[in-house]
Symmetry: C2
Subunit: 301 residues, 2 copies
Amino acid sequence: MSGQLEHIQTFLAVADAGGFARAARKMGNSASSVTRAISDLESSLGVQLFKRTTRKVALTQAGLTYYQRMLPVVAEIARIDDSARAYQTDLQGRLRISAPLSFGTHFLSGPIAAFRRAHPGIDLSVNLTDRFVDIMQADYDMALRISGAPADRSTIWRKIKPVRRSLVASPAYLAGHGTPAHPSDLTAHACLSYTHLAEGEVWELSDPATGATHPVRQTFRFACNNGDLLAQMAIADQGIALLPNFLVADALERGQLDPVLVGWDAPEIWLTAFYPPYQKLPAAMDRFTAAIEQAVADLPL
Amino acid sequence: MSGQLEHIQTFLAVADAGGFARAARKMGNSASSVTRAISDLESSLGVQLFKRTTRKVALTQAGLTYYQRMLPVVAEIARIDDSARAYQTDLQGRLRISAPLSFGTHFLSGPIAAFRRAHPGIDLSVNLTDRFVDIMQADYDMALRISGAPADRSTIWRKIKPVRRSLVASPAYLAGHGTPAHPSDLTAHACLSYTHLAEGEVWELSDPATGATHPVRQTFRFACNNGDLLAQMAIADQGIALLPNFLVADALERGQLDPVLVGWDAPEIWLTAFYPPYQKLPAAMDRFTAAIEQAVADLPL
DNA sequence: GGACATTATTGCGCCTTTTGCAATAGATAG
DNA sequence: CTATCTATTGCAAAAGGCGCAATAATGTCC
């Protein structure tokens, strides 16, 4: 195949201009480069495209059909290029998002609705799950997660906002089992663990005074991969849970839950956005991230 | 526009193979060239086409639509190239021929019919005229002419066969006006001139013995641009005409005309094929010329 | 978990290709 | 015939492409 697209464009220019020199002037090149472009094209095709003397240039039959068929093709290539370019600059396309289940149901409807109103050209697909999916494999454009460190190495991520967590239990539970004064006391308590089936969870509480971490080996009587259900279990006097504040703020306010071991901090976790390995994020992804960041800025996390 | 068609093909190969290295192996190139091709393409488009780590390569949205739209376009370009190539090798296309009027009506029907039977893929268009048309201007692929020297410099030509000519007159005319014994005698005769309106014709007769040319300034009583009519006028006792043998062979045999000044030769003229300025003739033109040459070889010119 | 293998990328040297300029041959207009 | 414009080609300089090897990243297999 003729390797050089520029040669084809030069050919079209010559056919339009009706001469090598005119085409060269129109394209801002030297005449010799035009001669060579046509000559290369002809020899690569094995066909003469122009019958020419030094004064007249006319398409051969091969050249005429080549011109007629190539013209729309080259135009189409230009259109394809433009449409590809648009992905970087324009707010368009399809956005497949994954977000944590509880976070999604609690906070996402507002920002997403606003985003859809602002950018109707972007098709949104939101998948709520707490599993750490392989972004590449599942073909997500972005995954919001509440986590400590990136799980998947083949992604890039951007921390959005720290998520505060608290140890909580119901007043009735604390009345019945006592209120722990030190992380080591937790060993004797019923701890409610956020965890997927296979994994266990270790609470690494850090001393507010010394900053020293204190790993807690609890006995879990109940484990669940859903924060909302964990909160409801804590409210139902089932034990002590470590949960994001936004999941238990209401219950704390109503007195359904009380904070436990106030001052002892669990490891910092962040609302984080994960992306497939892009060098530079496409406009739609960038804008959606900005929308989430802005919406989350005012949220009590 | 992305200048390199090969880059696009490399892109398609990577998308098909699902990896840079695999594509490189399939194409027989080094992996680095593939990396650079994709990188060039991406930076010329300003869009990332693949999201990639060292282990996974996947199309971005921009890359996917680029792939889907480019694939048929590249295939079309290959098809266009092939169809252009076919003009050189295959016997196809349209052939616009110009030929002398009398020659055409006397000899062309046979060879052309045979040619059309042999090559039904070639569309023939034959224009019979004795005018020397500008091949480029009139867009002929080939012009057969009976002439001495090429009239148009911006053409290439190929001599096919010499055309013998004779001075002829009717027995009755010669009986009435006498038979010339030397070219200089022609001044006193009624000469029938083949000529276009503007031009005059000079008979340059050469001595069969010495080879010396003898320009004849005749007085033309009748001029015509058609050989057949000139022959008929000679038969009708109107004077002496210089005509190709093939136009008067029948009349000579029947005794309607007699040769005059036998041995004195008019300048050699040739049945000649003229072509637009091709470096190498397309197959159809070449084959048609060969057909004419072969058909004419057995003809009594 | 750790060694291994594979991958995409990049720096570097080499070589090919391209480029513009000038010179040449060709062709038309006045 | 002269003058002007044209397409082509030789030439030297510049640019760009090429593969090789080294590097960093990442998934896999034992």
